[in-house]
Amino acid sequence: MDANIISFYIFAVIAVLASLGVVGQRNPMHSVMLLIVSFGALAGLYVLLDAPFSAVTQIIIYAGAIMVLFLFVVMLLNAHTEDDIPKTTIGPRALRIGVLLSLLLGVEVAVALSRLGITSFNNDPGMVSAISSVSRIGTQLFTTHSFAFEVTSILILVSMVGAVVIARREH
């Protein structure tokens, strides 16, 4: 057992337990906090995958910006607990079908993955340093993917205007 695989299992267990906590919590505030823990573990996994740029953006953008937005809304709405499930609209049968569908998805993914043989990573040092280089990511982003990058700026503008318009108080 080398250090990489031990770190993988530590981060994987943290990510899975924190995600289960997000789904299991009734207080949205605790869910958001646990999701930040899960994102931290995923950033660790990105480091194991020689992707330091993705790890840093995961921490800065996801844990730093998006989750703070969620926290603001949770605190603004002051909704600490989930409403009880009204008996008339959704029964335990519908919930059971939902869980069943999710488990079915899990089984499907497991079957699809079991058809894949064991595929170990290529640890050629030249390749590893090439894919972990931020300057290479930047070059690719602004040459090959420049159109997608520009479209992203329009998407951000549209969502910014949309968020302001939708959340505006009507007079």
């Binding site: 996994l45 740029f53 969620f70 709405l77 989930e82 497991a110 968020a163």
Partner: protein
Amino acid sequence: MLTLNHFLILSGVLFSIGTIGVFLRRNLITILLSIEIMLNAVNLTFVAAGRYIGTVDGQIITFFVMTVAAAEAAVGLALVISLFRHRETLSPEAFTSLKW
């Protein structure tokens, strides 16, 4: 020895947890958080696959997914605030006016 399979299995587990959250929870904010879990599971697959084939494209797609997630969170939370103002609840069962 760390293999691609480790990451794909973890990603599948996280995605399933996210779908369970979307199906099971009766709180709009928790449902949005479950969608974030699913997006992150897919990001992990992209980075692992990019590492496997030896290109940076996986990391670039992850970057775009994060941007879309930020836009989705902003608009989604604006909708949640607007809905909460109308009905004073976060339960999706309260927003069924368009249900046939």
